[in-house]
Symmetry: C2
DNA sequence: ATGAAAGCGCTAACAC
DNA sequence: GTGTTAGCGCTTTCAT
C-alpha cells in the first residue's frame, strides 16, 4: 500500500504522477517561482506519498552544493571538537552540510584535503587551527590557498600573510589581559606563563601581552617564568616541574590551554602541591576538561556557539559574494572556578 | 606563466588542449580502459599543467559519490572522536570521503541527518552510538532504517532488531570478563559496577556478564553495588558517592566508561580517598582521558585503528554489494595502568 | 584504441 | 503560471 519509495524516484516520476512538468516540480521544491495552488498541492501530495527527496548531487551539479568544508587540526582535541560542533549546528540551521577533515599536523594531508574540498565543490572552506595558525606564514602554502581561494572563499581562525582569506579570531591580547588582571587583583606578583610555543600566532600574541602587562603592573620579567611547551598534557606537566625548580617559585601560573593546565595539575599532585592553596593556576579555552579536573579550572571562554555561528555566517556570506569584513574578533570572557586564590604569604 | 588554473576547467578543455576526445580524458582519469601511451601522456601533461581536478559532483551524478556517511552520538565525546578519526583515516586511504554528523541524542535530528545522507547519495552509512545502541530497538526507527537501508547499506556498532543492517560491535561480555578476572586475581571480593544504564545494550551485556561472573567466582551479589549513571563525569561522581555510603564499601569499582571513572576519581578526591590504595578503579574505553587523570586508569581498549578500519571496510564492501557477515565482533584487551591494586586488609 | 552521443537528476532560461 | 529545452561535468555504451 501507499508509500513504497522504490529505487531512486526522480522529479520526472513525480511530475508524471502529478500531471505537471518536471519544471513545476522543481519550482515547488525550490520555491523559486509562483506555482498555482492546485498544482502545488498536487505535487506536494505525490512527493509526500513517495517520500521523495531530491538528489543533492544532481542539484549540486546544476547549481550549488550547499556544502561547507571544515578543516580542523584534530577533532579529538576538545577545543576543536567544541568549535566544530557549533559550526555544524549553525550550518545545519542554514541548510548547509559540513564536510569535516583533520589535518593532523600533516601538511601533505592538509593539501590533499583542500583539493578534495575543491573537487567536491564546497562553497566555502573554514579552517580552524592547522597551518593558518602559524606565526610566520608559509608563503608556499599561502600561494596554494590563494589558488583555491580564487574560486572558493576561505575563512580561518588564524592568520595567513599574503593569502586572500577572511579571518575571525580570538582577541588573544584581551584574553591575556583578563587573566593577568585577575591574577594581579588577587595579589600575585610572581606570574609564570607556560605550555605553548611562540611560533604559534595566538601564543605569540599572548606572550607579547604578558610581557607588556608585566611592565604595566610593575612586575619584573623573569626568563625562567616562561616555559615553552607543546600544548599537550604531558608538556604542561613538564613545564610546571621546571617552574617548580625556579629559585623563586611563581605564585601563579598561566597555562596556554586546558591540556597544559591539566598536565600542570598532575605535576602539582605528584609534587604534593595544592592548587590553589600553594599556587594559582589559570588557563585558556574552557573546554570540558576544565570542569572535569580537580580543582575545576578558572579559564577563559570564547563563547563557542557564537564563535561557530559567526564562522559559518562569514563562510556562507562570502560564498554568496556578499561583502564582509576581512578580519573580525571574538571577545573572550573569564570563567572563574576554583583554581585561583590569593598568593601564600612568602616566608 | 604556465599553470593558471582558471575558473573551472573541465575534461573538455583538457581534451581539446591534448587533441583527444573527452572520453579519452575520462579513461585516463579513471584508468578504466586502455589508452595508447602517446595520448595518455599528452593528457596527463595537460592535466598537470592546468592542475586539473575532476569535478566530484559530476562524477557522483554519473556514477557513485565515494562518500560515506558517518553518524556519531556526539563527536565531543572522546570515545566517538577517537573512533571517528580512525574511520576517516581508513576511508581516505581507500579514496572515500566521510560526511560526519552528530545525533546529539535528538531523534528528529538523527532522522534529518539520515535523509541528508540519502539525498547526498552516500554509498554507505556508518552509525556509531545513537539509537542503534539502545537495548530495545524502536520498531518505528527500525522501519525508517529499513526504508533507507534498502538503497544504502548500514553498518552499526550496536544492534537494531528488525533492521536490515550490518553490525560490528565490541564483545562486551569478553571485556567485562577481563575486568572481573583482573580484579579477582588482585584479590578483590567486593566489586561494584557503576555509571551506565541498562537500557543501553552494551551496558546491559556488561551487567549480565558481571552478575554471571560474580557467581562463577563465588562472590555474592549486592544490589547496592550496582549504581546506574548517565555516562557523564558528574554522573560517575555521584555513583561513587553512593557506593561510599554502602554499609560495606566495595574494595573495587568498575566504571562503565572513562568519563564515569574520572568523575569517580573526583568523588574519591573530595572524600579524601586514595585510588588505588583505598579502592581500585577500572573502566572501559581507553580514551585519552584515562592517561590524563591521576592516577592513570586501568581500562579496556578496543584497538580503535582496527575497529575504524573494519567499520569502513564493511561499509565499502557492502556498498559494492560484496557478501559480508552480518555480525562481527572486535576483541577488547586490558590496558593496565595505575588505578588498581590489591584490596586493603579489612579491619 | 578512440570518438560520438546518450544519460545521471536537477535547475533555469526561454517561450507561450 | 507552466511547459520545453538546454545545460551542469562526468562516465559509459556503442560504433568504428
Amino acid at each position: 500500500m501507499a508509500s513504497a519509495d522504490e529505487q531512486d524516484i526522480t522529479i520526472y516520476d513525480i511530475a508524471r504522477e502529478a500531471g505537471v512538468s518536471p519544471a513545476t516540480v522543481s519550482r515547488v521544491l525550490t520555491n523559486s517561482a509562483r506555482v498555482s495552488q492546485g498544482k502545488r498541492s498536487a505535487v506536494e501530495r505525490i512527493i509526500r506519498e513517495y517520500n521523495f527527496k531530491p538528489n543533492a548531487v544532481a542539484r549540486g551539479l546544476s547549481t550549488s552544493t550547499r556544502i561547507l568544508g571544515l578543516m580542523t587540526a584534530d577533532i579529538r582535541n576538545p577545543y576543536y571538537a567544541t568549535l566544530a560542533v557549533e559550526c555544524e549546528k549553525a550550518a545545519n540551521e542554514q541548510g548547509y552540510t559540513v564536510l569535516l577533515c583533520n589535518a593532523f599536523n600533516d601538511n601533505a594531508l592538509e593539501d590533499a584535503h583542500l583539493e578534495k574540498f575543491y573537487a567536491q565543490r564546497v562553497e566555502a572552506i573554514i579552517q580552524i587551527g592547522c597551518r593558518v595558525d602559524d606565526l610566520s606564514s608559509d608563503p608556499c602554502y599561502a600561494g596554494h590557498i590563494n589558488r583555491i581561494a580564487r574560486t572558493i572563499p576561505f575563512v580561518i581562525t588564524g592568520k595567513m600573510d599574503g593569502a586572500d582569506c577572511y579571518s575571525l579570531r580570538i582577541d588573544d591580547s584581551a584574553a591575556m589581559k583578563m587573566v593577568m588582571d585577575h591574577l594581579v587583583s588577587l595579589g600575585h606578583r610572581e606570574i609564570a606563563f607556560f605550555g605553548g610555543g611562540k611560533r604559534v600566532k595566538s601564543t605569540y600574541d599572548k606572550w607579547q601581552q604578558y610581557i607588556y602587562l608585566l611592565g604595566v603592573h610593575g612586575l619584573s620579567f623573569r626568563d625562567e617564568y616562561i616555559q615553552e611547551g607543546d600544548y599537550t598534557e604531558s608538556g604542561g606537566c613538564d613545564c610546571l616541574k621546571r617552574l617548580l625548580a625556579c629559585p623563586r617559585v611563581p605564585s601563579a601560573a598561566i597555562a596556554v590551554n586546558d591540556y597544559s593546565a591539566v598536565g600542570a595539575l598532575r605535576a602539582a599532585h605528584e609534587r604534593g602541591l595544592s592548587i590553589p592553596q600553594d599556587m594559582s593556576l589559570i588557563s585558556f579555552d574552557n573546554t570540558y576538561l576544565s570542569e572535569v579536573v580537580f580543582p575545576k579550572l578558572t579559564t577563559v571562554d570564547y563563547n563557542y556557539p557564537e564563535y561557530g555561528r559567526e564562522l559559518v555566517n562569514m563562510a556562507i556570506r562570502a560564498a554568496r559574494k556578499e561583502p564582509i569584513p576581512r578580519l573580525q574578533f571574538v571577545t573572550p570572557r573569564l570563567v572563574i572556578r576554583n583554581s585561583c586564590g590569593a598568593p601564600k604569604r612568602q616566608p
